[in-house]
Symmetry: C2
Subunit: 200 residues, 2 copies
DNA sequence: CGTTGGATACCGACCGGTCGGTATCATTTT
DNA sequence: AAAATGATACCGACCGGTCGGTATCCAACG
């Protein structure tokens, strides 16, 4: 195996292990040693691939956000109408939950760290603004195509983003508390029902 | 000054200092020594009043939640109709933000810690269930009194709680990003508009 | 009234242990 | 040989919590 391949594999093993540790014990709660143990790498290897613990965290955050971005964009491009697109985005919540296999609380870590670390903060807050703009544009398009009532797009986008964030958060905290994927779909359905233009 | 008074004052000074520290540096990020410095108490005094750092954190959490509870209940009792009550609860968001004076990120700490510490988790998750039940009852009452459309109360309550949580979260992360109090009111207004029974 | 006993409040040095990060060396690949 | 990779040992800082001791005040007693 080439060294690039080996190095890359070690690198992703570290990332994977770090994600699991952060999700279970939190950022401050997990030591570099623990990540190394789980990734079957020594400290030397760790600091060969990453300059610091924070760098690993930041890369994890950026990957997660990038994944969300591409998913959202794909759904938008594939949807026939705005309401249908929004509904399918609600379905993404279920996917997000299933994909992470109970290791989701790392999202909480992202948020908590954003409160203390300016670098994490910038990386966290910027996507929120992007998402608000994203849904604002969608709503405007929906109004233009006549499938949505003429509401204030800013407020509507905010409502969507807020509900999504709140939903994901509750799902993180209490995965067994409900079928959050289904709750997300039904909530978005109710929300849409009120935004959609009804033919009389 | 009686010793009880002195003791009580010291105790609340510790709580206040701890809240500020936790909000700025996070739970793990703040040492007991730092809390003591800010509260002008020594470590001995700290551990005289509290058995552990976690105990301080938990008391802070419980006080916050208790305050929210009493406020919500007061609004419900004082409202003439369900929609009016819901609208005034949206106004509470502005109050919450102003009352905390930018020290709000401690809410994030509550959430993050809930992911790791079972005691914090129980204290955090239980109010969510209570709030969902609270709003479900309100919606049911609203349907009964004829001011709300006959929607699914569970889903509606979930939508309200999720939006509120997401709104508060965004306000924490980016206090300067918007007038969150106003955004909360307008969002709730839009939400209500779709839930309210419209006379034709 | 003065004294005394003891409860409460508070002090600050100290401990065992952990942590993130570094320095150095060994091995493998090109 | 040079570069990439990763293993081992170690460092200094810091942290939560403990502990022996002191200051302050109240209540009971003589």
């Amino acid at each position: 195996m080439s060294p690039q391949q080996r190095g890359g594999e070690t690198r992703s093993r570290i990332l994977q292990a770090a994600m699991e540790c952060f999700a279970q014990r939190g950022y401050d709660g997990t030591g570099v040693a623990e990540i190394c143990r789980r990734a079957e790498v020594t400290k030397g290897g760790f600091y060969h691939h990453f300059p610091s613990k924070q760098a690993v965290f930041l890369e994890l955050l950026n990957r997660w956000l990038a994944g969300l971005d591409t998913q959202l964009e794909a759904v938008r491009a594939g949807a026939e109408s705005i309401p249908e697109g929004l509904l399918r985005m609600a379905g993404m919540v279920r996917q997000v939950f299933e994909a992470a296999g109970g290791q989701l609380p790392i999202f909480l870590e992202f948020l908590a760290q954003a409160g203390h670390d300016p670098a994490v903060w910038r990386a966290t807050i910027e996507p929120y603004q992007r998402y608000r703009a994203f849904f604002r544009d969608m709503i405007e398009a929906g109004i233009a195509e006549g499938t949505l009532r003429p509401i204030d797009p800013e407020i509507g986008a905010n409502l969507i983003v807020s509900s999504a964030v709140g939903l994901v958060l509750q799902g993180m905290l209490d995965p067994q508390g409900a079928d959050w994927g289904q709750v997300a779909e039904e909530s978005m359905h109710m929300l849409l029902e009120s935004l959609e233009r009804k033919e009389k």
